[in-house]
Amino acid sequence: MVNVAVSIIFDGLAYAMILFIVSVGLSVTMGLMGLINLAHGAFAMAGGYVTVKLMNVFGVPFPLALACAFVLVAVVSIAFERLLYARLYGADELDQVLLTIGLVFMAIASFTFFFGPQPQPIDIPSYLTGQVDLGFRSFPTYRVFMIVTGFALMALLWLGFERTRIGAQIRAAVDNRRMAQSVGIDVDRLFIVTFAVGSGLAALGGGLSVELVGMDPTYAIKYLVFFLIVVAVGGMGSIRGAFIAALVLGITDNAGKYLWPEGGSFFIYALTVIILLARPAGLYGKRE
């Protein structure tokens, strides 16, 4: 019984970390600018492809490839933000949704054109494969690595958000953009930074998830629902919310599949509905 619980929580945690790393940027940018960026998953996918291609074509080591994915996608995303997204701040939601879902389909088509429809193989370094024995039982190494990475990132983001000047500015802008602007915070510039870091994190999440869930051109839309659920359940603009939501959803999804496989992914949706009925703004979202 204890063993079952450990299995469920452990595997759920690893899955939750992917959800968290990819979704946190989406949550903050949505909270900050009210921009519905459905193309966020496409940035995650780009990160996955950069990681895989750097490793397979140029022989770059896995950690370095992940770092490159983060930087490259973050930089490219700034171009997207300036050229496309910036025109839509304050536009109505339908326009934003149409533009960004269009970007998703263009991403899927271009990735299929350049890399083919098949999933990309990844050869993760041997020190991350196999099992680690933690005394009472052994766990798959890669999942342990995912969990450690996820918690480390959470700590880093929390420090950046709560303890730095720019973090304070972001929080202020999420709470009340007009007020933040009127006390002299350059919200536009702030948003570019947040958007780039958010997209970079998505890319990192994409690169990390190749080993666990695979990477093909439909990734951008396949997991979009889950990313949006994390944002909605956690509450827009909240790092803590995204983290808690990812944990709850990752573990519930895993428990459902483990204990009642016939139910499929029913639980994750049921839970979402229940949480949103009780708290329409999400766990940590501010009420309108």
Partner: protein, 399 residues
């Protein structure tokens, strides 16, 4: 003299139609050409084209025109539309292809209404040929591998308990049902049966596999569609250390598909599967087939069971065209297919005259590493297996 001329003229007239009537037979090909399943379409088509190139001259002047349609995904809807269009607008003489079972099932009624012979090159759900009198299958049925694997696991491998995991669509249920029947008839006990997501997307198999690992059966029988699902299964099996925990992974050969095998790594060593084909088979017919394949498509390619099914399917189409001299009629075509025998690269095959389903040898394969590469080594064989589902009249197969 005059009589002579008349006789000559008459003879010429009689001979003429035979010489001049070279027919073009339209073959509608419904395969997956895009998305994650594109690799299956490519395998089958390469097998078909290889046979056509090798035997084109045997057609006695007749030509084959292939009209290809993309069935994209397993849902059945796109395939059905494609078949409708092939029958009504393109007026095809023969239908072939069909990677996924739901696609074949959705198309079967159209073959009946349009009276078009339908030669199935993959879709393996046992009762598919019962859906239309114009269906013949050259691939396999899930029961051939599943039922036999069940018997083999209990009798030869000596397993007492087994858990089963499957992709939740008709051939998956078929495969585990047949395994269960074979395994329990031979004295084993199935302790768990786990649906593991659908065929369209590869799920994270970890929670399902962890559940089995914690339950500790002797064997874990897994059916998933060949391709990316299969690669993920072996990966998850290794990541969780199930082999070390004493749970052996077994299944139909879909999980050790030749085209995926090298990518699975050493973790695949020791896997035991039941299947009708391996590219590593030592049969001379197979060696010639693999050599021709590599010559046509490159040294780094290999046929897998779908490739050989495409090859054999085209052989069946050739047989029909030759027998009917290019004039395709559904009833006559089916009569020609019933009892058709062919010395395939996989071994001798036959279309059962009663069920229009394939009769073939099944091989027990074990993955071994030889000379730096993984191969499916033949460690056992069952001769000329008819579909056990229809033999035992189980469920829909008995109707």
């Amino acid at each position: 003299m005059r009589l002579m001329k008349t006789v000559l003229c008459l003879t010429a007239l009689l001979l003429l139609p035979g010489l001049a009537q070279a027919k073009t037979v339209k073959v509608g090909v419904v395969l997956t050409y895009s998305g994650g399943a594109a690799q299956f379409g490519e395998q089958i088509e390469r097998g078909m084209m290889l046979y056509m190139q090798q035997h084109e001259k045997d057609l006695g002047g007749h030509k084959i025109e292939l009209i290809k349609r993309d069935s994209k995904r397993p849902g059945g809807d796109i395939a059905k539309n494609a078949v409708q269009e092939l029958i009504t607008r393109e007026k095809v003489d023969i239908l072939t292809g069909f990677v996924f079972s739901p696609n074949a099932m959705a198309s079967a009624p159209l073959a009946t209404q349009g009276k078009v012979p339908m030669i199935i090159m993959n879709a393996g759900t046992a009762w598919i040929p019962s859906l239309s009198p114009y269906i013949a299958r050259v691939s396999f049925t899930m029961w051939q591998s599943g039922y036999l694997m069940g018997t083999y696991a209990a009798k030869t491998l000596g397993y007492k308990t087994a858990a089963m995991g499957y992709t939740d669509y008709p051939p998956g249920k078929d495969s585990v049902n047949s395994f269960k029947m074979g395994f329990e008839a031979a004295g084993g006990k199935v302790v768990d049966s786990i649906p593991m997501g659908g065929p369209r997307e590869v799920p994270d198999f970890t929670p399902f596999f962890q559940r089995v690992k914690d339950a500790k059966p002797d064997a874990f029988y897994v059916f998933v569609p060949a391709g990316n699902h299969a690669a993920a299964v072996v990966k998850t099996y290794n990541d969780l250390g199930m082999k070390q925990a004493g749970v052996t992974l077994i299944g139909p050969g879909d999980i050790t598909q030749d085209t995926q095998l090298q990518g699975m790594g050493d973790g695949a060593v020791g896997l035991v599967t039941m299947h009708h084909y391996s590219a590593d088979s030592e049969r001379p017919e197979n060696k010639a087939f693999v050599a021709a394949w590599k010559k046509a498509y490159g040294d780094d390619t290999t046929p897998d069971f779908m490739g050989v099914q495409g090859y054999d399917g085209m052989a069946a189409i050739f047989h029909v065209i030759k027998t009917l001299d290019g004039n395709i009629d559904a009833e006559k075509a089916m009569a020609a297919l019933k009892g058709w025998k062919f010395n395939s690269p996989r071994g001798p095959i036959m279309i059962d005259p009663d069920t229009r389903d394939i009769v073939q040898d099944e091989y027990v394969h074990e993955v071994v590493k030889e000379g730096g590469r993984l191969k499916n080594k033949e460690i056992g064989k069952v001769d000329q297996v008819k579909d056990p589902c229809k033999e035992l009249k189980v469920g829909k197969c008995g109707e």
